[in-house]
Amino acid sequence: MVMDTLKAILLELGIEESDVTETALLRKDLQLDSTETVQIALELKRRLGVNVKLEARQDMTLGHICDLVVQAMALNPA
């Protein structure tokens, strides 16, 4: 479910569906910039009600982001 939401956000940012994999890195593989990583965090907050501060110093895989979202949801169940 989380991956589906993340995928929908990435598609809206213009990322090709075939590039959206659990191991894809935001910066290195998907070429997302600092503004776009913030935008993903804002969308996750809007759609799933979770606070996941996507810091950009270290590149992050989509799988890792999903883990962070799941952890955040467990801490603050809707």
Binding site: S34, V38, A41, L42, L54, A56, R57
Partner: protein, 517 residues
Amino acid sequence: MDISCERLPEIFNIAAYFIEGSLSRGHSERIAFYYRDETYTYRTVRSYVRRAATLLSELGLDREDRIAILLPDTPEFIFAFWGAIWAGAVPVPINTACSIDDIQYIIQNCRAKILLTSQEWHEKLTLGTEFLRDVLLVDGETPFLSRLDQTSEEATPSRTSPCEPAFWLYTSGSTGRPKGVVHMHSSMVVSAQRYGKDIVGLHENDITYSIAKMPFAYGLGNTLYMTMAVGAASVLSDAANAFDIIADLHRYQPTVLFGVPSTYASILAVKEMAPLETPRLRLCLSAAEQLPKTIWTRWLQAYGYEICEGIGTTELLHIFLSNRPGECQPGSSGFPVPGYEVEILDDQGYPVKVGEIGTLQVTGKSLMLGYWNRIEETRKVIYGNSIRTGDQYQCDAEGFFWFMGRKDDLFKVNGQWTSPFEIEEVLLQHESLLDVAIVPQTDAQEVLPYVVAFVTLKAGFTASSELEDGIRRFAKSRLPHFKAPKAIHFLDKLPRTPTGKIHRKALGTKLALVRAL
């Protein structure tokens, strides 16, 4: 106090002046900068700078030779920069956000004898061999720092003159290749005193945090030498987005934030997710691009700080027009920094009347020597001791200066001079809009230009003809009819120059493409 190269001692080395000065004022054990989990005292900085001077001299970097520094803000950057100047050589910082093509051009154009960079960058570059003799790496088998550890720190400062070149900074310019701006040893003394001390009021207990990195003139002052002039500390940051910046601000608790408009906007955008908690922060500043009044107001409402905006150029090294803390006029660039004479001139070179738009001319002692090997462009902007910046300004009856766009940004609509910023400011108040750029359009049917907006949307909004209609209605209700955009083009991102300014020429090209479809 008159600070100029003529008034400084005949033998004057800016690296020695700041570094030895900080020790003689008793700052040796004070923290000069923070980098990740490490802190560096002024004594440590002095030690590494002298080691760097020794090493660079041993490698054959002679007086007036250039060393290119292609690094993010790191201790190695600082040691190499001051070390080169200490040895009488000339550091040339290069922004890692530049294109590979521009980086290679700069290394070649400045005829760097040594390049200091990382392995990753070295592998990406194709380097000419005509001038370059050595590449030093900060990582790999023999990192720069470990080489410094093995080098003696006996170097004495080179007996340079205050009026000779000390360092270069490359500026992007709106067209063509970057230009090397050559600055003297005296330039930093002027900016540190006039802006750092007189306006910002920097003192030894300050910790500064700068969004602009050191290869930018704004970042160099904020992080490197203005703090050093008073024994304060700065943070060397590798923050890449708003969350990183907020984490840094929480971690280091700076007292002075040197921001840029887009950062203030980003921090505001994530306020609900990551509210700022900075009890020690005493002052927020902004430069590099016109700060919209909307952002100024929202920042004040959200966090209780006004943003003290100013304008500077690489050619004058730092800020020469600035608001004063506690007396900000939002949307304005403030008034002249002490020591700078700022005039607004008409096309014939005469001062314009109050309220009229003209070209900015600035006279100040931090003026560059010129652009390296670009005599025509140098002579086009320098008039004696003054420079014409290409910015269009007006001054109100109270003496506040208002930015009206670049000389080539301003346009006439309905027979009236129109500033894109005035319209962008209004559009940014629309709930859906994240970023806006206004350009004039003239098409075959209508000889007179009309206004077109390129916009990006906030998360949660989708481009549609209904939304376009809504934005146009919003603009019409708040602007004279001729200033309201006739068309809205939705983009994923606005094109920006490497310094973060809106690339209006690129938008003009986009417009031509839209029309061709």
